[in-house]
C-alpha cells in the first residue's frame, strides 16, 4: 500500500519537476547565448574601443582609425527610415484596427500584402530599393535611398504590432469615449494611442532592431562610401555594412569589426532603453493621471 502511494506521488511529482527544469533550462540557455555573444564581443572588441574610435574617420580600409562617419550615416539612415515608416505605419494600423471591421475585404487585402512583405528576404528589398529609389527616382546611392528602403522593410512589422496593440485596448474605453462625446480623432489621441503606447513602442523597437542589423538591403542603396556625409543625398556606409566588409572583405579588419559590432549593440541597447523609458514615463502617464 505504502509503496503504491509513493509511486503515485512520484508520478505526480516527476512531470512537474521535468517541466520546471525544461522551462528554467530554456530560459537560461537563451540568456546564456546572449551573454556568450556579448562576452565574445567584449573580449575581442573592447580593446579596440575608445573615444577616438568613436570620433575619428576610418583609415586603411577600416583596419585603423575609427567609425565616426559610419556612426553618423547609420543614425541618419535610421532617422529617415523611422520618419518615413512611423506616420505611414501608424496611420495604416489605425485604419485596420479602428476604421475597418476585421471582416472587411479591403482590410484583409492590406493585411495579406503586409504579411507577404514581412516574409520577403532583405536582399529583395535591397534590389527593389536600388531599382526604385536609386535609379528610377534618381536618388542614387544615398542615405535617403537607404532609409526609404529600410522604411519599406520595417513597415509590415510596425503596422502589425501597432494594429495588435490598438486592438488590445478594451472596447469599453471606446464606448466610454463615444459616450462622453469625444470625436474619433480625439478618442484616438487622448485614449487609444496612449493606452496602446507600450505595444506601439515594442513594434517600433522591433523595426529599429531589424533596420540596424540590415546589411543586404543597404549595400545597394545607401552604399559603401565611408566619408562623413554632408547631406542626405550623400552615400553613407551603415555600421552593419562596415562590420560585414571588415570581417569578410578586409584582411586584418577583425579587431575593428568586433569593436564596431560592440558599438552597434550598445546603440541598440541605448535606443531600446530610451524608447521604453519614454513609453513608460510619457505616454502611459497621460492616461493614468488626468
Amino acid at each position: 500500500m505504502a509503496e503504491a502511494e509513493s509511486l503515485a506521488v512520484t508520478r505526480r511529482w516527476l512531470p512537474e519537476a521535468l517541466m520546471t527544469l525544461a522551462v528554467w533550462g530554456s530560459a537560461l540557455l537563451v540568456a546564456g547565448i546572449f551573454l556568450w555573444l556579448l562576452g565574445d564581443l567584449l573580449w575581442r572588441g573592447a580593446g579596440h574601443l575608445s573615444w577616438s574610435f568613436l570620433f575619428s574617420s576610418p583609415l586603411n580600409a577600416g583596419r585603423a582609425g575609427g567609425i565616426a562617419p559610419i556612426l553618423v550615416s547609420t543614425l541618419l539612415i535610421l532617422g529617415v527610415a523611422v520618419a518615413a515608416a512611423v506616420p505611414l505605419g501608424l496611420a495604416t494600423a489605425v485604419l485596420l484596427a479602428e476604421f475597418l471591421s476585421s471582416h472587411s475585404r479591403f482590410g484583409r487585402l492590406v493585411g495579406l500584402s503586409l504579411d507577404v512583405l514581412a516574409g520577403v528576404p532583405s536582399i529583395v528589398f535591397g534590389l527593389f530599393g536600388n531599382a526604385f529609389f536609386s535609379i528610377f527616382l534618381g536618388l542614387g546611392f544615398s542615405i535617403l535611398s537607404g532609409g526609404l528602403t529600410l522604411a519599406c522593410m520595417v513597415l509590415p512589422i510596425l503596422v502589425r504590432t501597432a494594429e495588435a496593440a490598438l486592438r488590445a485596448v478594451p472596447d469599453d474605453w471606446r464606448l466610454a469615449g463615444a459616450a462622453l462625446g469625444l470625436s474619433r480623432t480625439a478618442a484616438l489621441r487622448h485614449i487609444l494611442l496612449p493606452a496602446a503606447s507600450s505595444g506601439l513602442v515594442a513594434g517600433l523597437l522591433l523595426g529599429v532592431g531589424r533596420a540596424m542589423a540590415e546589411t543586404a538591403a543597404l549595400i545597394f542603396t545607401s552604399g559603401y562610401v565611408d566619408r562623413m556625409p554632408s547631406s542626405l543625398f550623400d552615400s553613407g556606409r551603415a555600421l552593419s555594412v562596415h562590420i560585414y566588409d571588415l570581417s569578410m572583405n578586409v584582411a586584418g579588419g577583425d579587431g575593428n569589426a568586433y569593436a564596431s559590432a560592440l558599438v552597434l549593440i550598445g546603440l541598440l541597447i541605448l535606443i531600446n532603453g530610451t524608447s521604453l523609458w519614454l513609453a513608460e514615463h510619457w505616454l502611459n502617464r497621460r492616461i493614468l493621471t488626468p
Binding site: 586603411n60 580600409a61 529617415v80
Partner: protein
Amino acid sequence: MRLKALTTTLCGILILMLLTASVALAVEQKLVLTGSSTLAPLATEIGKRFERQNPGVRVDVQSGGSSRGITDARSGLADIGLVSRALKEEEKDLKSFTVARDGIGMIVHKSNPVRELSDRQIIDIYTGKITNWRAVGGPDQPITVVNKAEGRSTLELFLHHFRLKNSDIKAQVVIGENQQGIKTVAGNRNAIGYVSIGTAEYEASQGVPIKLLPMAGVAASVENVRNGSFPLARPLNLVTKAEPQGLARRFIDFSRSESVHDLVEAQYFVPLAR
C-alpha cells in the same frame, strides 16, 4: 499638448532634412566607381588620397562584384567600373586599365598533411571525383569543397584556369568575399578553397590556421606573383565605357602611378612593375 510638441519636433526634423538636402546639389566634381569587392577597399584608399590632392573633387566607391562593375560602367551609372579580372572577349568594347595584380592560391587547414596537389587532383576534387583526403595522401576524412559564388571574378578565374564549368563543380560551401573563404577553411580541418594570395599570406602570418599550397610546383607567394611565375594570377582593372577624359583620366593615371604603390601593398596586392 505633448503630442503637439512631438508633431512639431518631427516636422522640424523633416524640414531640416530637406534643407540639408538642397545644400547637396552644390557638389563640385564627383567620380563614381562601382564593382569588385576585392578592389573596393583599395579604390576607396586611392580615392581619399586623390581627394586630398584635388580639393573640390569627390570619389564615391561602391562595392558589389566585378559583374556589377562591367554593367554599371556600360550603363553609365558609374564613371569607372572596378573589375578584378581581365576583360572577356565580349567585354572588349570597354577600356581597361590595370592598377595592380593579385594571385589566387589554393588553401587548406594548417593541420592538413597534404603538401601539394596537382592540377588534375584539384580538378577531381572540385568535380567530386575525389571526395576523401586519403586519395591524395591525406587522412581518411571527407573533403569539404569551398567554392565562390556566381559573379565573383575569383570563381571565373579559377574555372578558366582549370577549364571547368561552374555546373560541374560539386561544392559543399559557397562563399562570397575573400575573407569568408579564409575563415571557412580556418574553421574546418577538411576544407579546401581558393583565395587571394596576399591576404592568405598575411592571415597565415597572423596565426590563422591555413596553409597555401603550391600550384604546378610554384610556391604560392606574393613574390612569385610579382615576378610572374605563379600560374593563377589576375589583373585588377579600372574600366571605362569610352576613352576616359578629364577627371576620370586623371584618376586612372593617378591610380597607375608610383604614388599609390604603398596603398596597393597595404591591401596585400602586387603593384605594377616600376
